[in-house]
Symmetry: C2
Subunit: 236 residues, 2 copies
């Protein structure tokens, strides 16, 4: 096995020792009968298709074509089309979780942390619109994909934890702090969705979405606070 997988790109894997260097298209990159990391190649293709043609532009056949395999090949790795999308969504939630964790570590103050999380959430969403659309297109809840549900819960839990910490530190009655997480979560998801959908732009709201999120979360936590609402906080 002399093949080397390059994560995040189509793999040039070969069980045999042959080399073919004349062509570079996805279909030509495969030297042997076996692909090597078809699973990854397919989720990557799904992301690219969504980025190019929107959520409805993804088809299993086209993804297989781009990966250079037959239309039946994906079924060795995914039960069906939805399971492929679920796998892509899971990837997304894991990345989002990582981004949120990193943002949370950068702030000690409970309020600043929640603001940082809101900004990081929206920033990740708008820089990965293809992922984000798949994550909330394939309904996370109804999915029977175990990993997806867990990964999504982890990402959302980052917001919940920060909200809980803030609420219990600031408020006199700390009962049911989970209840207070609905608003900030909805706020950042709404900004992300409307921004990716182009609705904010179309309505004449051209603010930088992450900055808008930071401002809005800060304002929501306390009306008289933080930086002046006129000037958005500087991105980290």
């Amino acid at each position: 096995m002399d093949g080397i997988n390059i994560l995040g790109d189509i793999n040039v894997v070969n069980m045999s020792g042959r080399r073919k260097t004349s062509k570079r298209s996805a279909a030509e990159r495969r030297d042997s009968y076996h692909h090597g990391d078809l699973k990854r190649a397919l989720t990557d293709a799904a992301l690219r298709l969504v980025a190019e043609k929107g959520p409805k532009g993804f088809t299993l056949t086209e993804a297989a074509r781009r990966a250079g395999v037959s239309a039946a090949a994906p079924y060795r790795h995914f039960a069906d089309k939805d399971q492929l999308l679920a796998a892509a969504a899971e990837q997304g939630f894991l990345q989002l979780h990582a981004a949120l964790t990193k943002a949370a570590d950068s702030a000690c103050d409970p309020k600043r942390r929640l603001v940082a999380l809101g900004r990081a959430y929206v920033r990740w969403a708008v820089t990965h619109p293809d992922h984000y659309q798949i994550m909330f297109g394939a309904q996370t809840v109804g999915s029977d994909h175990r990993g997806l549900v867990i990964a999504a819960a982890q990402a959302f839990n980052d917001l919940f934890e920060a909200t809980t910490t803030y609420v219990t530190s600031e408020t006199r009655r700390g009962r049911d702090p989970r209840r207070h997480a609905g608003a900030p979560w909805s706020l950042v998801h709404g900004i992300a969705s409307l921004s990716i959908g182009g609705d904010l732009d179309h309505a004449g709201i051209h603010d930088d979405p992450p900055a808008l999120a930071a401002r809005a979360v800060a304002q929501h936590l306390e009306v008289s606070s933080t930086s002046a609402p006129e000037s958005a906080p500087a991105p980290s």
Copy 2:
């Protein structure tokens, strides 16, 4: 023409005078060669399909089948599948606009009005999840459907107007009040989306979504205000 159209349901229209009362399925309701109001029957079928099987459960063929016509018949009324969805989305935005207008009239105080709008927005969304999913599934922005874009703008404008009125009445610096509409809009859209998607429920947030919206908007407008945040305002 003795046929009478019943808005909001499959029509029992006939150009001829024949009657057929034995069956009641959609396919059997049509007595004559012509349907009568196929356009409406198709958008209704689309809504029902989305309600039953989710946004991906809608197919033009199945909608035609339920309306009792051939798969080719819809093309006399809509250019393609997306145009049918756009028409359904337009209906939705008109209804939402009406609901918001009604809610706005019920409150004079700028702040209470914005709160009422937020509650009405989410209430309409969660009581019409099929419509709402179509409205934000078929991306409103990129659509070449003139009526849809206008209807959507009207609905959003209800929120903008109320926000502008509030901001200029309350704030010292009233420049660019449109900018302040992004947060409340994102908030109510986020609550509506996450609620319809089942994510809020799944995360253990079982609040009544309209009440959550009212609370969150009120809190966003001013932290020390209105009714106690512990008890949700009573629905109108």
